[in-house]
């Protein structure tokens, strides 16, 4: 009987697995963001790619805005708009808060092209300007098979337009967050180090109590307010008590650790990543 249930359970699990696999297989995967120019069709030569890459890199260093080019064979079964928004939601081009990223997406076999404009640049590059760049710059070149020329000229146009937009040079808005995070990190690390040490000597309950006393004392020394440090001490007590369970292999995934600081330009070396910019579907699509 039990084996029967086990078998059917196994069957259900396998079916579920296949179901999820199928769901994922239906859509075109989003390539990893490694460089500013990603060509999955080998349309551009290595020379052309590195030239574009260098130009875009120089522009990003000067202005801060991130422009990237992606050439894929096809976006089927999705429309180019749907695929494009998935790509930029994953890549997060442009700086956080400035939202100044642009994606130039070419679906070569579909004969479709899209310029996806970040929220912060929708003023500098309205939809109809993006549409004109596609119909007047890209389509004519693409029709003649000159993909590099079309992309290159479009990128030049986009850089011109972006240069006209007044963007803040480098956002320094993360300081308050950082200091709070630092003190939190200090608290946690302090609890772990002191708590683990004292618990091993005094036992779990007394160890936690002693840790709470020490942490509370230190925070009283730093903060100067008794109420707050009592609060910190209680938190330390609880934290030290539950700590062994936390690190027992059943840790929750740290949803808060990533995302909010998704920034960090990899401009100093070869690795490259998006800065956390947001998109809301601005831009235009066209064909040739």
């Amino acid at each position: 009987m039990i084996t029967h249930i086990k078998v059917s359970l196994f069957a259900v699990c396998t079916m579920l697995l296949f179901a999820t696999c199928n769901l994922n297989a239906e859509l075109i995967a989003i390539p990893a963001l490694k460089s500013r120019v990603t060509d999955l069709t080998q349309t551009l030569t290595t020379d052309q790619q590195s030239q574009l890459e260098a130009k875009l890199k120089a522009f990003e260093l000067a202005k801060g805005s991130q422009i990237t080019v992606l050439i894929v064979p096809s976006t089927r079964p999705e429309e180019i708009e749907q695929y494009s928004i998935r790509v930029v939601d994953t890549w997060k081009l442009g700086r956080e808060k400035q939202d100044d990223g642009i994606l130039v997406l070419v679906a070569k076999n579909d004969h479709k092209v899209r310029i996806e404009v970040g929220q912060g640049l929708e003023g500098a590059i309205p939809d109809l300007i993006a549409k004109r760049i596609i119909s007047e710059v890209m389509s004519p070149s693409f029709k003649q098979g000159d993909f590099y020329g079309g992309v290159n000229n479009a990128v030049d146009k986009l850089m011109d337009l972006t240069s006209g937009e007044k963007l803040e040079p480098s956002p320094e808005v993360r300081h308050t967050n950082m200091s709070f995070d630092n003190s939190l990190a200090l608290f946690v690390i302090g609890c772990i180090v002191v708590g683990a040490f004292l618990s091993s000597i005094l036992g779990r309950l007394f160890g936690a109590g002693a840790t709470a006393g020490i942490i509370g004392g230190i925070s009283w020394f730093i903060l100067g307010t008794l109420g707050m440090s009592i609060f910190v001490a209680i938190m330390a007590f609880l934290f030290t008590l539950v700590m062994p369970y936390l690190f027992d292999g059943t840790r929750g995934d740290g949803t808060y650790s990533s995302g909010s600081y998704g920034g960090g330009f990899g401009s100093s070396n070869d690795s490259f990543s998006g800065g956390g910019g947001g998109f809301s579907g601005g831009g235009a699509s066209g064909d040739w």
Binding site: L128, A130, G227, G281, G283, S285
Partner: protein, 199 residues
């Protein structure tokens, strides 16, 4: 000494509140309101485009009165609707809103289809710009709607799963309506292909 007990009590209360999802509801509720505002914002953007579009098309295709009046009617219906964040708590009003916007969507797509028949209109730069803007706006609406659906999914799941549903019941948080496919009926009916072989 009593003060400390009181503080301890407050801390425990706070912890229990965040433990049972109350704080989570707050942020999810705000998030869903924000994404709803974005949806409204983009619909408004489209409604603002319509008068110009109708004017340009009228200049070239005057005898397409049917389609033009349909667009104008749908536009005025959308414009007359009172849309407040409270619509989110009223599934009926939400359905009405969706129906009105859907009507404008189909009227506009008919207008665009009709305009294909007028080469002069298609060549007009003003019309092409408006067309680009309309396309862009429709795309933004799609994106905003999808994001709204995503946030509502998280919100509704949070509200309905145990034990947060107890908190939700206590504080009167209800599930919010989400967008559905507009032409559900039209999709489910197979199209009839008629080659004119009728006897």
């Amino acid at each position: 000494m009593q003060k400390i007990y009181f503080k301890l009590f407050v801390v425990l209360l706070l912890l229990s509140l965040s433990g049972c999802g109350y704080n989570n509801f707050q942020s999810l509720d705000e998030e869903s309101k924000a994404s709803w505002s974005e949806v409204l914002n983009q619909y408004q953007r489209r409604a603002d485009l319509v008068p110009n579009l109708v004017n340009v098309v009228k200049g070239y295709a005057e005898h397409e009165k049917d389609v033009l009046t349909q667009v104008a009617d749908a536009r005025s219906k959308v414009g007359s609707m009172q849309v407040t964040p409270e619509v989110l708590n009223d599934p009926e009003a939400f359905a009405k809103f969706q129906a009105a916007q859907g009507q404008l969507t189909s009227a506009l797509s008919r207008l665009m289809a009709v305009s294909e028949n007028y080469p002069n209109l298609k060549a007009d730069q003003g019309f092409r710009d408006l067309q680009a803007q309309l396309e862009g706006t429709e795309n933004r609406i799609t994106v905003a709607r999808n994001r709204y659906i995503e946030t509502i999914k998280v919100y509704n799941t949070a509200i309905r799963s145990f034990p947060q549903n107890l908190t939700a019941m206590m504080f009167g948080y209800k599930t919010k309506p989400s967008f559905t496919v507009e032409n559900e009926k039209a999709i489910s009916i197979a199209p009839t292909v008629d080659f004119g072989y009728k006897k």
